[in-house]
Amino acid sequence: MPVVAANSPLSLNLTFPVEIVVFLALLYLLSRYVFPPISNALKVRQQQIAQALSEAEAARREVDEARQKEKSGLADARRQAQEILDRAEKLGEELREELRQKGRQEQEAMITRARAELAQEREQAVSQLRRQVADLVLLATQKILEEELDQKRQRRLIDEALAEVDLSA
């Protein structure tokens, strides 16, 4: 066994048990009156931190959801706007086609009317020409008859007229 000097910290004397008792008493007092409140406070703090974290997480989720909704809302609005544009374009095309069709129909109607008018004018011209020819033929025939009909021929014509008389019809 090594020899320890009397003034060394490791030397055993009466203060050592007192120190032990004091230590133990301190320990007891600490564990009875100090550690529990500290422990509770630490627990409470931990709980608070946990709650705060949880709330933060919930808020983050809410924000995410809101962003997601906003995104889908924007997408919806864009889709609707595109649909409106598509419809407007389609309507415009239909209107253009309708106008083209109307234009063609009007053109055809004009051509038909013009043809009908031409035909009518031609008919009128032909009719007029026919009348003029007939009048000329009549006039020429009258002239010839006036010169060629002598008394003998006149008598023959009168006899022919009398031959047509028939009261039985």
């Binding site: 009348r131 008394q151 008598r155 009261l167």
Partner: protein
């Protein structure tokens, strides 16, 4: 007056079984020819005919015979008008 005279003649003709025949020609017909024509007409109609002759140069030729209410138009003017009508209604071949 002419109408009364006409009416009187008609009554007399009816009573005596006669009929009035009016012949309108383009040229004048002599008295002898008129008599011949009257006989021709009487023979054709088997009736006693009171004959009247009129002249209308616009007929050109032929005659218009009126017997009672019947009119027979065999004048050249009418035939020429018919010819004119035929020319107008004839459809030309294309």
């Amino acid at each position: 007056m002419p109408a009364i005279e006409e009416g009187y003649h008609q009554l007399v003709d009816k009573r005596e079984g006669r009929v009035l025949a009016q012949l309108t020609t383009a040229v004048a017909v002599g008295a002898a020819e008129q008599k011949q024509l009257a006989e021709q007409l009487s023979e054709r109609l088997h009736l006693d005919v009171r004959f009247e002759a009129k002249v209308d140069p616009s007929l050109l030729g032929g005659a218009v015979v009126r017997v009672g209410d019947h009119v027979f138009d065999a004048s050249l003017t009418t035939r020429l008008q018919q010819l004119r009508q035929d020319l107008l209604t004839q459809v030309p071949s294309r």
